[in-house]
């Protein structure tokens, strides 16, 4: 029997690795060959949301913790990157027409005469890169400690994350002199002297982004395959049973929430680099919910599904907005209703149900026991 289990596991690993290779080929070979640099840069932008979707697959799909505030972490990651780039773009020579040269332009417009203390460390690229991951993870740790240790969960947790997203947006917009306000941090030019606005830079950044995404998928796969991954699924189902099996459940929830936050932040930083600015419109409630929809459409139980879902929804959004701008919001609403009512496990669920069985018909072993099959039936509906 244990040998059977091993076979099942090996088969599953092969399937996943094949899927990742296929995605890698699509991202690194097919798309760059088939798209011009404008469209490719756009795909790169979409892919930055896929980091958030990956985090949601673990946090929401595996552990059943729905966060409606992932934009917070995406945004903070993006802002950390933007702060470094902005400081580099604000050299005394480049800003000599300002009344205080050497500080970012929006600070000058807001009558600031010195760089605020928390901007100082962002002169260092190393610090900034560490901050991209560490600051959101730390914030998630604090929120997680406050919520999960007190056993706040489910809908309450979702609402609180939404409130945090709103608070952060208000804070950024309100503190214009420190954050750039509603416009965000714009006019970013170079990274260590390398102009990020050229087509070549965009191509390089696209590949860096794709490589990071594949790396993050592998990392997520490792987490899901570990016992921790199975404990997350277990606590989604029967939290008390996990608790009374000797685990401190809150710690596991905090971990997965921080992990998802860090992933989102990497996406945010790559967004800033590829799009060239960061603004509060990627932080608030609406973008956070859109990110949940990407994950839901792709399939919240499938890492690859979430990536494809993100690509597809964003592609549809661009296409629809280009031809019928007024229709997009309706389409988005219809999509969400469709996902909840018709295919709760998203595209990945449809694939598992209808396509995968046809692909591997001639399997050896008992057909009555699909031990290695991904869970089809959701323990929660997409809405809870």
């Amino acid at each position: 029997m244990t040998r059977n289990a091993q076979n099942g596991l090996l088969g599953r690993i092969d399937g996943d690795v094949a899927g990742i290779l296929l995605l890698a080929a699509l991202l690194v070979i097919v798309l760059p060959l088939g798209l011009d640099i404008f469209r490719l840069n756009m795909v790169g932008k979409y892919l930055t949301y896929a980091f958030v979707a990956l985090g949601l697959v673990l946090c929401w799909g595996s552990a059943g913790i729905l966060s409606l505030g992932q934009g917070i972490f995406f945004g903070i990651g993006g802002y950390c990157m933007a702060m470094f780039l902005k400081l580099e773009a604000s050299s005394p020579e480049a800003t000599k027409i300002q009344s205080t040269p050497g500080i970012p332009d929006f600070m000058d417009w807001n009558q600031l005469t010195a760089l605020p203390w928390f901007w100082e460390p962002f002169h260092s690229l190393t610090f900034s890169i560490v901050a991209v991951v560490a600051v959101p993870a730390l914030l998630a740790l604090i929120v997680g400690l406050a919520m999960f240790k007190r056993r706040v969960g489910g809908v309450y947790f979702a609402i609180i994350t939404q409130a945090f997203a709103a608070i952060l947006t208000i804070l950024i917009v309100g503190q214009q002199g420190y954050t750039g306000g509603i416009n965000g941090i714009t006019d970013l030019r170079t990274l260590k002297g390398w102009d990020i606005r050229t087509d070549e830079a965009k191509l390089v950044l696209y590949f860096v982004n794709a490589a990071l995404l594949i790396g993050c998928i592998l990392l997520c796969l490792y987490v899901r395959r570990s016992k921790l991954g199975r404990i997350l699924v277990a606590l989604r189902d029967k939290e008390d049973r996990v608790r009374f099996s000797g685990y401190d459940v809150a710690n596991f929830k905090i971990f997965v929430f921080c992990f998802a936050a860090a992933l989102s932040a990497v996406g945010g930083a790559m967004f800033t680099l590829q799009v060239g600015f960061m603004s509060p419109s990627f932080v608030g409630i609406v973008p956070s919910i859109e990110m949940v929809i990407y994950c839901a459409v792709g399939g919240r139980l499938s890492l690859l599904g979430a990536v494809y879902g993100t690509l597809l929804v964003n592609w549809a959004k661009t296409m629809l907005s280009e031809s019928f701008p007024e229709l997009w919001l309706f389409a988005m609403g219809a999509l969400f209703i469709g996902v909840v009512m018709v295919f709760p496990n998203g595209l990945a669920g449809l694939y598992q149900q209808y396509i995968a069985p046809r692909l591997r018909r001639p399997t050896v072993g008992r057909t009555t026991m699909p031990a290695a099959a991904a869970p089809i039936i959701p323990p929660h509906t997409a809405a809870d």
Binding site: S226, R230, A234, S245
Partner: protein, 248 residues
């Protein structure tokens, strides 16, 4: 605080009230090493609440629970488990989306911290132990099956197995044979008689025939208080017990 005792579990003066209603009222009882202690009583007597109090799910309003002279009322649920108390819930509480093997593996007492779980390796020791327990709970042929597809009785056994793999010194079972077929019930009694070696078991049960089969000592609860205590023989013939519980 109560003095130290030789008992494995010493419950003294235990009280819990929900909005003024005393579900358990000044309750004291003791469980010896290697003893099967059964708690019986009519519905609402506070039986499940007693288990909830011992395993930390409900906080006591007063009194003490000592396990090997360690005060449990001040400990968190997972610490109580680590101290050696295992608890089975009334409804089979297993992980539907995981296989029987994975269900048992999660209960294997190693890698219980976040990073311990991340680094956990499914080595030979784990596989052997899971196989050994699966054999004991009659599920050897179902290791790769998702737990969702087990029958009700098999789910109950699986949960008992998940406790056994932790090797607790005190095993608490809440109605382990409820909803089982006659055949399953017989197998469960057999299973319990096999697993009680080197541990104490605290059982809540309604099935009197089953209780008679397994109990060393019986405590009868009524309205949060002890009505009678002793051997099954004694309790059965206690007129108070006959009146409130066994008579009808």
């Amino acid at each position: 605080m109560a003095n130290n005792t030789d008992y494995l579990l010493a419950v003294e003066g235990l009280t819990v009230s929900f909005d003024g209603f005393k579900a358990v009222n000044d309750l004291s009882f003791y469980v010896d090493s290697n003893e099967i202690h059964v708690i019986i009583g009519p519905n609402g007597a506070g039986k499940t609440t007693v288990l909830d109090l011992i395993c930390g799910r409900t906080k006591a309003s007063g009194g003490s629970i000592k396990f090997r002279n360690k005060e449990l009322t001040a400990m968190k649920e997972h610490q109580i488990v680590t101290a050696g108390v295992g608890r089975k819930f009334q409804n089979p509480s297993i992980y539907d989306d995981l296989t029987v093997f994975e269900n048992l593996e999660i209960s294997y007492p190693r890698g219980r911290s976040v990073f311990g779980a991340l680094a956990f390796k499914r080595d030979a020791a784990v596989r052997e132990r899971v196989a050994e327990i699966a054999e004991m709970i009659f599920l050897s042929d179902h290791l790769d099956q998702r737990a969702e597809y087990l029958s009700h009785g098999q789910k109950q056994w699986l949960e008992i197995g998940m406790l056994l793999i932790q090797d607790p010194e005190l095993l608490m079972l809440d109605e382990p044979v409820a909803g089982m077929s006659v055949n399953e019930r017989k197998k469960t009694a057999e299973l319990l008689n096999r697993i009680i070696q080197n541990r104490s078991v605290l059982v809540i049960e309604h099935d009197m025939k089953f209780v008679e089969d397994i109990a060393h000592r019986v405590t009868v609860l009524h309205q949060g208080k002890i009505l009678s205590e002793g051997s099954m023989e004694r309790v059965k013939n206690d007129p108070k017990v006959v009146e409130v519980y066994l008579g009808h």
